[in-house]
């Protein structure tokens, strides 16, 4: 049976735009991230055109496809957690949060293992233009996943201590986290195609 938590709504802060400032701030931040990753991807494509066409033959596509799937499942887990918050179901919310955390950590684990194999085969940042671009772009993305996993870890700990509930304020906090996490997913969808498949 699902556990229902009493919702303690906090008064909404009125804004001249009618838009929540925290959410607006996150969208503005994501806009800057679009520019950051576009510059990185642009730089990667520039290097790619100067490197051999089959430079990505060293990459393991099946494992990375699985990792892409892991990130997609984690994004779905985030919206399911958000849905549980909207339903006031704390137990379900926590379950989906933990699932997202585990999936995010799995993604990072697989990426670290990929780096370990590539470095073992002497594919370094200094060994080729492709290597340089590859580690820079995927490294930046991996760092964003790491930040997301840490952020979610804090939310999970707060939930276990009953400092994060299903009230309106925390709903917005989790929605903002969700926007960040989905953006990281979006970036990976693009990187998977550009770096691994093309």
């Amino acid at each position: 049976m699902s556990q229902t938590v009493i919702v303690h709504d906090e008064p909404r802060v009125a804004t001249t735009t009618g838009i929540d400032n925290r959410k607006l701030g996150m969208w503005l931040y994501l806009a800057t991230e679009v520019m950051l990753f576009s510059a990185l991807i642009g730089g990667f494509l520039t290097m790619r055109t100067r490197a051999p066409a089959d430079a990505n033959h060293v990459l393991n596509i099946p494992i990375t496809a699985f990792n892409t799937f892991v990130l997609i499942v984690s994004s779905t887990a985030v919206v399911m957690a958000l849905s549980a918050i909207e339903d006031g179901d704390r137990k379900r919310m926590l379950r989906w949060m933990v699932a997202t955390f585990v999936l995010g950590a799995t993604f990072l684990g697989i990426q670290i293992n990929e780096y370990r194999i590539l470095i073992g085969e002497k594919h370094l940042t200094t060994s080729s233009l492709f290597g340089s671009g590859f580690f820079t772009v995927t490294g930046f993305h991996g760092f964003h996943v790491f930040v997301g996993v840490c952020w979610l870890g804090v939310i999970i700990v707060q939930t276990l201590r009953n400092r994060f509930t299903t009230n309106e304020r925390d709903h917005m906090r989790f929605e903002i986290f969700g926007l960040y996490w989905h953006f990281v997913d979006v970036v990976w969808i693009v990187l998977f195609t550009i770096i691994y498949l093309i």
């Binding site: 496809a65 779905t76 989905h182 969808i189 195609t193």
Partner: protein, 93 residues
């Protein structure tokens, strides 16, 4: 006026069904991408970029709720692409 709890539960169920549908579409498209990447007799790059675009839009519209949220967020998010498109066009050349 507050939404009756029955219709609210129905709306929540529909929303969750949509999330599952989007998830299945994303999974299927990823599998299709891997399949297409090994083919040589089709315009591979166009197909792959097209599928990637569809996946990105599914996440943005449904998971990030841009489809139902304020249009301001969409404007803020998509505005940088006006700079990005020329950058990505010019840089590789």
């Amino acid at each position: 006026m507050a939404m009756p709890s029955k219709s609210r539960a129905g709306a929540a169920k529909t929303r969750r069904s949509n999330y599952v549908l989007v998830f299945l579409s994303l999974g299927a498209l990823t599998a299709l991408e891997v399949l297409v990447s090994s083919m040589t007799n089709i315009p591979r790059v166009s197909f792959l970029l097209g599928m990637s675009f569809i996946k990105v839009m599914l996440v943005i519209l449904y998971f990030m709720h841009l489809r139902s949220d304020s249009r301001w967020f969409g404007l803020i998010f998509f505005l940088p692409f006006l700079l990005v498109i020329p950058l990505l066009t010019v840089l590789p050349h």
